[in-house]
């Protein structure tokens, strides 16, 4: 077992900002653990602009925003970085077990910062009826397939939900030559930023159906079509409003949920509804010295706010280490 002053789990914007801030606040023995081959987290697939205006006072793309922190963290030799490293166990005493190619490692830090981000909510979580053919993707998965792997998941697309990732993917699919036939939103208005409605949907004349829900997904091997129906103020179907839309692909963009199985495993008090730690103060948990920051603490709208709050997590960890010395 290796001992460390601080371990940070997650090499996205939250983990990098927390590690850099802990270093700047005096912590000199830091290990950052990242499961991917590269640092940057989900920013690497967010190739659109909209990042950095608050923090850098510049309009950046996701990869550019990440690149600034990657450069900075790589310039600090006191921060060890272990990529392709997947944490499989976390104990109450903050012992972290992780797998990396060819090895299982155990490390016990005095302080721990978890920056594990979010997962996307799924079709199952919003109860969309119908069959289970190929061609149904979460919006972020489609984003990864197009922007990282160079694959176009479909040619005729319907997007369920109007979260920002869904809106951004509407534009991306359109510019890649696919036809986005509809965005279906159960609420009266978009869940995403108005900015994205303007530049991703209205710019391309994509129809948006508000107060509509998907009543069924059809298709045997591959998605063939979906049925949508208008709903009233009591969320009841309005009879006679059902229409079918032919498509080969359905994107589900219905929000994010913090990914916190590890801290749950360690016994942190959790809010089951939001899947985030119960806490009166940002970044803190029921276990002293175990901090959570970024989208795994709560779902943020802007990465700039993730950075600001994660820097605070780094500072809190440094304060904790000074007190326990």
């Amino acid at each position: 077992m290796v001992k460390r002053d601080l371990v940070v789990v997650g090499g996205g914007p939250a983990g990098m900002a927390a590690a850099i801030s802990a270093y700047e606040n005096g912590v000199k023995d830091i290990l950052l653990i990242e499961r991917d081959l590269y640092l940057g987290g989900i920013l690497n697939q967010c190739i659109h602009t909209g990042f950095g205006l608050d923090y850098f006072k510049e309009l950046l793309t996701g990869p550019e925003y990440a690149d600034r922190f990657i450069k900075k963290i790589r310039s600090l030799p006191d921060i060890d970085i272990s990529t392709r490293s997947f944490v499989v166990n976390l104990k109450k005493d903050k012992t972290v077990t992780y797998l990396k190619p060819g090895a299982m490692c155990v490390v016990r830090p005095k302080a721990l910062i978890m920056a594990t981000g979010c997962r996307e909510r799924t079709r199952e979580m919003v109860h969309i009826p119908g069959t289970r053919p190929a061609g149904i993707f979460s919006a972020g998965l489609a984003q990864r397939l197009i922007n990282i792997d160079g694959l176009l998941p479909g040619k005729e697309v319907v997007i369920i939900g109007s979260g920002d990732i869904g809106l951004i993917m509407a534009r991306r699919f359109t510019l890649q030559g696919a036809k986005v036939k509809a965005i279906v939103e159960i609420q009266k208005q978009t869940r995403g930023l108005v900015r994205n409605v303007v530049q991703c949907v209205e710019d391309f004349g994509i129809p948006m159906y508000f107060n509509h829900k998907v009543s069924k997904i059809h298709g045997k091997d591959r998605v063939e079509k979906i049925s949508i129906v208008q709903i009233d103020d009591n969320m009841k179907d309005v009879s006679g409003t059902e229409v079918e839309i032919g498509c080969d692909t359905v994107l589900v963009s219905v929000g994010l949920i913090p990914e916190n199985e590890l801290i749950e495993m360690a016994g942190v008090d959790m809010d089951k509804r939001t899947n985030s730690p119960i806490s009166k103060e940002v970044n803190k948990t029921s276990i002293p010295g175990l901090f959570v920051c970024g989208n795994s603490f709560k779902v943020y709208d802007y990465v700039d706010s993730v950075t600001a709050d994660s820097e605070l997590a780094g500072k809190l960890a440094a304060q904790y280490l000074r007190k326990t010395k």
Binding site: E64, A66, G150
Partner: protein, 118 residues
């Protein structure tokens, strides 16, 4: 004529009131920063967008590199820009901010890499 619109320069999305006479913008109110006024003028006189996409690579550590234009391009040219980026192939390592194509589409803008590729 007063046109209500939402600024898309940043995620704040300010509600703008734009006083338009003919094809020209007279005044802009509701913007929290100067970008808002510039956006309202451009959007009504010639709409512009920053273009982002990916470009294929050969023999490098990433299959694709993300790219952007260094300046906004006319909105009407977005599809042309998407077609053009599909023809480009990057074969040498680049850093974020390096130029992929000078004078992209003859628009006097640069296409820049936004991620390091080795």
């Amino acid at each position: 004529m007063i046109r209500k619109m939402i600024c898309i320069e940043c995620p704040k999305g300010c509600s703008l009131s734009v006083d338009i006479e003919g094809c020209k913008v007279k005044t802009v109110t509701g913007n929290k920063c100067p970008r808002g006024a510039a956006y309202a003028i451009a959007e009504n006189e010639e709409p512009m967008r920053i273009f982002t996409a990916t470009v294929a690579t050969k023999g490098l550590n990433l299959k694709l590199i993300p790219v952007r234009t260094n300046k906004p391009i006319p909105k009407k040219d977005l599809f042309l820009a998407a077609d053009e980026t599909r023809k480009i192939r990057v074969e040498k390592p680049l850093k974020a901010g390096d130029t992929v194509t000078d004078n992209f589409l003859g628009l006097n803008v640069k296409l820049l890499a936004t991620r390091e590729v080795a």
